[in-house]
């Protein structure tokens, strides 16, 4: 909820020239803004800093101590700070102070000051990725610090092409955002588009990756996510190497990867670590489960309430034996089940893991069985809903699996009204929609639409890495990888 805001604007007196009084009044004389005067070498220096953002140790040993012992007047040679920049206006000085720098001003010459890096870091240690688990992949996950995240990305992407561009977003509270890409690999058109869209963000404040996502995605009225959110450096790095762009937001452990196409959401790092047979199999299973999760409830409704003659006779008998006790129509029955499943899912997310197990047993097993025995739902319906939810859990990406939930209900409704035809109409709607989506100008449903055989190498199946192509033709390594397996020719023995 937003509270009422103080709308009165501060008068920016004398914004151009650096003056301590102005800075203090613009920071509202906040109590943790400290200053200290140092007399050294017949000069008076004033150090201004925000106490809570500054590492005291660093400030004392690297700035104050050398300053006091200083012999000549050349400040830049005497101080141990790793980063020194001149601050010529109040605005720059204030931004620096808010980033944890301290401002050094020579008294008497108010127009010039130096910003010295003394910021404290209370970053969390790098830890394991929690949501996107892998079996064999790297275990590291991103953290909340921008610098550390860039460090994590750089260590797995060693390349002179690695380019970072910084942006400061937000008008009332500022957030640092870094745009990262591999030059020569990424399409310059995409970089241009991303830059343009980021620059046009004029939000008051950036709360999370979601705010940026809302502002820069191509289509807002769609259940399909067009940006990939990840917490894994290896995944982000692999995408950078594929010619995508990463956006890191300070304070958020979630990194935005763009442009993401439909198939991007079905790739996991594990696909590339395991042998390609297995990787392809996983891919196929994921796509298959996506389709199952989307249309299985609708198919069940259509078959049970419209086209029972289409399923084998034995199945009709067994379905009917449990259906005949249920007082609701199949659609209502499935809706009850789906809704209670959503409840379970939503409830279990925020429970501590120890309780969640018990909760799963009580919620899933006990309630499920009791519901069937009480005659509220049938066994068929229970199986369908359970299969659907299991299939939706197979999706490696949270946002993509929630698109199933959004699309599943309308499909069920259509199936309940028009039977099989309803499903066809619904699927056609989805396909028309998918074929029109773009992600930063790229077709969203990419290898299928427009049909591109080359891109199929990394979609439904994953071909061995030496057969894979490089995404960008500008890349100097384009199509070099086939040579990786040239040794096979040299080693092969003649049959006779």
């Amino acid at each position: 909820m937003r509270l009422k805001r103080n709308k009165s604007k501060k008068s920016l007196i004398n914004q151009e020239n650096l003056s301590i009084e102005n800075i203090k009044s613009q920071l509202n004389h906040t109590s943790d803004l400290k200053d200290r005067e140092i007399h050294s070498n017949n000069q008076i220096y004033i150090i201004l800093y925000i106490n809570s953002l500054v590492d005291q140790e660093k400030l004392e040993s690297k700035i104050i101590k050398p300053l006091i012992k200083m012999e000549n007047n050349n400040i830049l040679n005497e101080l141990y700070s790793q980063e020194i920049s001149t601050a010529k206006s109040n605005k720059i000085a204030i931004n620096g102070l808010l980033d944890g720098y301290c401002l050094l001003i020579k008294k008497g010459r108010n127009s010039e000051g130096f910003l010295l890096k003394t910021n404290a870091s209370t970053d969390r240690e790098v830890s394991e990725a929690i949501i996107e688990k892998t079996i064999l992949g790297a275990k590291v996950g991103f953290v909340e610090s921008l610098d550390k995240n860039i460090f994590l990305l750089r260590t797995v992407t060693k390349s002179p092409d690695f380019t970072v561009k910084n942006y400061t977003l937000g008008s009332s509270t500022t957030t640092n955002v870094s745009l990262i890409y591999l030059d020569h690999v990424t399409d310059p058109e995409i970089i241009k588009k991303v830059e343009q869209r980021i620059k046009s963000i004029t939000l008051d404040s950036i709360r999370s990756a979601g705010d940026i996502q809302d502002c820069i995605e191509d289509h807002t009225v769609t259940p399909f996510p067009q940006l990939l959110l990840t917490e894994r450096p290896d995944r982000a790095s692999a995408n950078l190497k594929d010619g995508r762009v990463a956006l890191i937001i300070d304070g958020s452990p979630t990194v935005i990867i763009l442009p993401a196409t439909f198939m991007t959401f079905f790739q996991t790092p594990d696909d590339y670590i395991t042998r390609w047979w297995l990787g392809s199999f996983f891919r196929f299973i994921r796509l298959f489960s996506y389709i199952i999760a989307l249309i299985l409830p609708a198919l069940y409704i259509a078959f049970v309430s419209f086209h029972y003659e289409a399923i084998p006779l034995e199945l009709v008998y067994s379905l009917q034996s449990s259906l005949s006790y249920v007082p609701f129509r199949p659609f209502i029955e499935l809706m009850i089940m789906q809704l209670s499943l959503e409840l379970l899912r939503e409830a279990s997310i925020r429970l501590p893991p120890s309780v969640a197990t018990t909760f799963g047993i009580v919620g899933g097993l006990v309630v499920g069985t009791a519901m069937v025995e009480a005659g509220i739902v049938s066994y068929g319906g229970l199986i369908v809903v359970a299969l659907t939810s299991v299939s939706s859990f197979v999706q490696p990406n949270l946002e993509m699996s929630s698109s199933i939930r959004i699309l599943g209900f309308p499909l069920m409704l259509l199936a309940a009204i028009f039977g099989f035809l309803g499903i066809v109409v619904g699927v056609l709607f989805v396909l028309i929609h998918l074929s029109r989506l773009t992600s930063f100008g790229l077709p969203y449903f990419s290898p299928f639409v427009p049909l591109n055989m080359e891109d199929f190498k990394d979609t439904i199946i994953r071909v061995p890495s030496w057969m894979m192509y490089k995404h960008s033709k500008n890349s100097p390594h384009y199509k070099q990888e086939k040579r990786s397996r040239k040794w096979k020719l040299d080693e092969s023995e003649e049959p006779y």
Binding site: F306, E309, V425, L431, R436, P443
Partner: protein, 367 residues
């Protein structure tokens, strides 16, 4: 006005295949059997060959006016007034085709899947899909059609399941040519209606990248070839599967065959076939609506969006009227109309272009 988007020859292949394969697929074996007996497939092959020639003529016509659609170059050829009249007639023709497809579509669905649903609801669904599908640009159209091309292949695969049937009898095809050469030739005019869709080339040729070179024609030729083979296959399949008496009494032989099939998990294959067929028919509807709306928006200078809504509403009303009046009426008209608008008028336009040396206006004729 010149069109701005460009599509490739491959894209044109998808556009044309999806426009041509459509509603006629189900009843085709029945119709050809009426006219040519067991030699229906020969008449399909002949008309397929004939269509290739027509397509060539249409290309010869369109290459004189690069990046201009029929609605633009008709005015260049015939002059402002008669060109506008011709455009109007073509729009009416295209809308009539959509109405025809609507009626057959709803009729088939009603008889095979939803016998108790009132027809107007089905019309309404089709209307909504038509509006949603047609408000787009040509690139979207191409991408949708290439995506749905997979379902045409699915239709192909479903028919493979039929071969387990013990009642297949190749002898139904023999003796080849028993109906007599003249009868077969005569029946080609009847089977021509299952090829309608090629006349949209008058519009789609404008979008192709290099319309002057022969490579523009490659996709079109392949498309017509594909459709010919597909339809021939369907006709041969039905002839082999059903005895002549059965074909005479069943109006949708393909569905009839499939409904008798039973595989382990599914007792009604025709349901699957019909759903995929439903997707394919929609591409035809969308393609025609796109063309017709383009004409309307050029004729009365409104946005494409409103033109689609206008043509959709027209189709909805007219098809409902015809559905309750007389289902077969439109089909009878279309048999003649498609000859006039698909073959005779393009040839006449070509002749006028050659004789009177009409060319696109010099402002865009040179490049």
């Amino acid at each position: 006005m010149r069109v701005k988007s460009r599509i490739s020859s491959v894209n044109l292949f998808f556009l044309l295949v999806q426009t041509m394969i459509g509603v006629g697929l189900l009843s085709l074996p029945h119709q050809t059997h009426d006219a040519a007996g067991s030699d229906g497939w020969i008449s399909i092959l002949i008309s397929g060959f004939f269509i290739q020639l027509i397509v060539l003529l249409i290309w010869l016509l369109c290459r004189n006016f690069p990046n201009l659609t029929l609605f633009d170059f008709s005015k260049v050829i015939l002059g402002e007034t008669s060109g506008t009249i011709l455009n109007f007639l073509y729009i009416i023709y295209l809308l009539t085709v959509i109405c025809y497809i609507f009626i057959i579509y709803v009729d088939t669905l009603k008889r095979w899947i939803l016998p108790e649903t009132p027809a107007w609801i089905l019309f309404l669904i089709a209307f909504v899909l038509l509006i949603y599908g047609s408000i787009c640009n040509i690139k979207n159209l191409v991408s949708l059609f290439s995506l749905l091309f997979i379902f045409i292949l699915f239709l192909f695969f479903i028919t493979f399941l039929v071969y387990g049937d013990p009642y297949i009898d190749v002898r139904y095809l023999f003796p080849i040519g028993s109906s007599g050469g003249w009868n077969i030739l005569k029946s080609t005019s009847d089977s021509m209606i299952s090829f309608i869709g090629f006349e949209t080339l008058l519009i789609y040729f404008a979008f192709i990248k290099q319309s002057k070179t022969i490579s523009a024609l490659k996709g079109v030729f392949l498309a017509v070839l594909f459709v010919t083979i597909f339809l021939t296959y369907i006709v041969i399949l039905s002839t082999v599967m059903l005895s002549p008496e059965e074909i005479k009494t069943t109006s949708e032989p393909v569905l009839y065959i499939l409904s008798a099939m039973e595989i382990r998990i599914l007792s009604r294959l025709d349901l699957i076939f019909l759903s995929f067929w439903g997707l394919i028919v929609f591409t035809t509807i969308i393609s025609y609506t796109f063309s017709a709306s383009m004409g309307i928006s050029k004729l009365i200078h409104i946005k494409h969006k409103f033109a689609v809504i206008l043509s959709g509403t027209f189709v909805l009303i007219v098809s409902i009227i015809f559905y309750y009046m007389d289902i077969t009426l439109l089909e009878k008209w279309l048999k003649h109309l498609c000859l006039i608008f698909g073959i005779i008028i393009p040839i006449l336009l070509l002749l006028i272009t050659i004789i009177f040396k009409r060319e696109a206006a010099s402002t865009y004729g040179k490049n």
